[in-house]
């Protein structure tokens, strides 16, 4: 399932990221790589961006990008 499928308040672990290496590197620099735990904090209406918590810090991530992050539920 992709990150957008997780409900608010639930956590998932990144299994893979569907994207080019620039994207993957960009995410890794912000602490998002395979095996990282992500918690969904909230999102906006009309499939807007998600607010997530990764290694203790908060990030905002566009839903298009979030749909490329494949996770398994924790």
């Amino acid at each position: 399932m992709s990150l957008t499928d997780i409900k608010d308040g639930q956590s998932g672990i990144i299994v893979s990221i569907n994207g080019g290496k620039t994207l993957i590197k960009r995410l890794a620099d912000l602490g998002l790589s395979t095996g990282t735990e992500i918690k969904i904090i909230g999102r906006t209406l009309f499939s807007g961006p998600l607010q997530i918590e990764v290694c203790g810090s908060r990030l905002v991530i566009g839903s298009g990008l979030a749909s490329k992050i494949i996770v398994k539920l924790k």
Partner: protein, 643 residues
């Protein structure tokens, strides 16, 4: 340390970790501070004299990685490598240790002397985060010093440490990757030995494995045969790990950061929900968040308007009799009347512009320092996508409400060139504080507050339409939003006062001379009897098409210098505050619409020129001027039915 010795230190770190606050404390300068990542867009230099030493301090823009992705990152990396600073102070946000350490690891790979400042240690404590910094120090083998930059705590310790480091440089080399990667690095370092590049060998080897474009090109120019070897090694790595080699390295780095964090950080989660958590939950809520946003922004404009109106009226009373006094005591000669117009211009500036600009900046800086602007980005991302940009574009917009110049510069936080350009074009259409002076001081005061709000709404609609059109014209994939969400913090009154003062200083020292000169020139033209001649030249546009008094032609020309001049000069020329007699409501609205959208002011044009070239700057000026005149004419005709 001998007397007068010079050392230079560099502040580096991710966005929003407090680098600028450290910089300001050390140098006594007032670099802009705000609670969002990416506000420092150019490196900034200052110096201090400490213990007989001249210390040059450089504040680098916040970056996330030292692998070249954006221009600012290249600047920072190249600076550290080529200028070989005596010491790099890595400012780390203690509340986001893990993410920040990823950058630290990359910094250490550059093999420069590093001191790690664990900044915002007080906020970390509040969040229940305890960092064992002695252990951190031994794990990464660099001095670690806890600091609270906003209060200056721990900062002298850093400088002491920097002076100490200067005497004995050391290499760190304890950050080891997995066996396979280390093996590749070792093989590459071997053949890189005699390559003559200013970078450390181990670092070049890592960057080659990461497929860094710049470094690959540099090495390729010197020793093309190495690239073959690199390709082969990368393939090996990819076979073992099943990912691109650059991803493997980035992954290991972030796992390494996670490991260090878990060994040094202890979190006791608070059971109690803090005020800041509660505010955060409300301001980012799917429904309530939007209502709060409208209330906050609406409240902001309403406060600016009410305070401005009240203050402006007070000043009006004070200045009321000054003209009579002048006429009686100085006389009514040609020179005296020129002299009065200089005074009148300044009075008009103080009376009309200052009352609105002052509260505007105070509120803007409070919101910025508090951390609300990032929330607006979050809430409006979806809407921004419709204009071909993402939520971060909101930040330049909001800065642009204050002044378009920093607004245009803030567009650098957008990742792609296309988005930067679209955002910058839209920023030039945002009513800045100078235009707000016209909207509030003219339309709000004489026609009604609802009309003033209507004009803001209208401006937003125009921005949206122009954004929609330009995203269709400028092809390209919109980049997705990804940004750190800063925690709310209590706005620091000192910072806000300094920043408001900086904005006002510019207003006083730049606007006042321009206003005086323009006032005298207009009055001289008037007294020489040339006014009808110049006005008649512009008559077809101003009088025939827009239905405005002839005098506005020359005002609109002067308005290119600074937009508030349009109203200030109008007031000065008519004698302060007889505006309602000279202009009808309809004319006021038409004039406000032209002022809002026609050519950006000189300062904005020059920044736009510098950032995007003269061709684009001129095209925008012409398009916006023509567009504004057509639009205002149409509005005038629609208003014919209303009034």
């Amino acid at each position: 340390m001998t007397d007068g010795e010079k050392i230079n230190i560099v502040l580096a770190g991710q966005g929003n970790t407090g680098k600028s606050a450290v910089f300001n404390y050390l140098t006594g300068l007032h670099q802009h501070i705000g609670n969002w990542a990416g506000k420092t867009i150019e490196k900034c230099e200052g110096s201090l004299y400490y213990k007989g030493c001249n210390i040059d301090v450089l504040d680098l823009p916040g970056i996330y990685s030292l692998t070249t992705i954006s221009v600012e990152e290249i600047i920072s990396r190249e600076y550290i490598i080529h200028h070989k600073p005596d010491c790099v102070i890595n400012i780390v946000d203690s509340t986001n240790l893990e993410r920040n350490l990823i950058f630290t690891i990359q910094l250490l790979e550059l093999e420069c002397p590093v001191i790690l400042a664990l900044n915002m240690i007080d906020l970390a404590k509040k969040k229940g985060i305890k960092i064992n910094y002695q252990k951190l120090q031994s794990l990464i083998d660099v001095p670690v010093i806890p600091t609270i930059a906003s209060r200056g705590s721990g900062l002298t310790k850093i400088v002491d440490k920097a002076l100490e480091l200067k005497t004995g440089k050391k290499d760190h080399g304890i950050l080891k990757y997995g066996k396979e990667i280390e093996n590749c690095i070792a093989q590459l370092s071997d053949i890189l030995k005699d390559i003559n590049l200013p970078y450390p060998q181990r670092w070049i080897a890592i960057k080659l494995l990461e497929k860094d474009k710049d470094i690959t090109k540099l090495v390729g120019e010197k020793k093309p045969e190495i690239l073959e070897k690199v390709k082969q090694l990368c393939r090996n790595l990819e076979e073992i790990h099943g990912h691109d080699s650059s991803v493997v390295i980035a992954d290991e780095r972030s796992h390494f950061a996670a490991q260090i964090t878990s060994e040094t950080e202890e979190i006791t989660p608070h059971r109690k929900i803090s005020l800041s958590d509660w505010l955060d939950a409300i301001t980012t809520h799917k429904f309530i968040g939007y209502i709060v946003m409208i209330l906050i922004l609406g409240g902001m404009f309403f406060t600016v308007f009410s305070f401005g109106n009240w203050f402006s009226t007070c000043l009006e009373k004070i200045f009321k009799d000054w003209h009579n006094w002048w006429n009686i005591n100085v006389g009514i000669t040609f020179l005296a009347s020129l002299g009065w117009s200089a005074i009148e211009s300044v009075l008009a500036l103080v009376q009309i512009a200052l009352p609105y600009i002052l509260p505007f900046y105070i509120i803007l800086y409070i919101l910025e320092d508090w951390g609300y602007i990032a929330r607006i980005s979050f809430l409006t991302d979806r809407l921004m996508h419709k204009m071909g940009i993402h939520g971060k574009g909101c930040i330049p917009f909001i800065i642009g409400f204050g002044c378009n110049v920093p607004g245009c510069l803030a567009c650098r936080i957008m990742e792609s060139k296309r988005e930067r350009f679209i955002t910058a074009v839209l920023v030039t259409l945002i009513p800045c504080s100078a235009v707000s002076v016209i909207i509030f001081g003219l339309v709000g005061k004489y026609v009604g507050i609802l009309w003033a709000f209507g004009l803001y709404l209208f401006a937003m609609i125009i921005v949206f339409i122009v954004g929609k059109i330009s995203s269709k014209l400028l092809l390209g994939e919109p980049v997705e939003l990804i940004m750190p969400m800063p925690d709310y913090k209590t706005p620091d009154i000192k910072t806000i006062i300094y920043q408001t003062w900086d904005a006002l200083k510019e207003f006083i020292f730049i606007a006042a001379p321009i206003v005086i000169i323009s006032g005298v020139v207009i009055q001289a033209i008037n007294l020489a009897g040339w006014m009808p001649f110049i006005s008649s030249f512009l008559n077809p546009v101003t009088v025939k098409w827009l239905g405005l008094p002839a005098i506005t032609g020359i005002l609109l020309i002067f308005g290119i210098l600074r937009k508030e001049l349009i109203l200030v000069m109008l007031a000065a020329f008519l004698g302060t505050s007889n505006i309602a007699d000279a202009l009808t409501s309809q004319q006021m609205i038409t004039l406000a619409v032209v002022s809002m959208f026609y050519v950006p002011c000189v300062a904005t044009i020059s920044v736009f020129w510098k950032e995007y070239g003269w061709k684009k700057a001129m095209t925008i000026c012409i398009l916006e001027t023509v567009g504004a005149i057509i639009l205002a004419g149409v509005i005038k005709r629609i208003l014919d039915f209303v009034f």
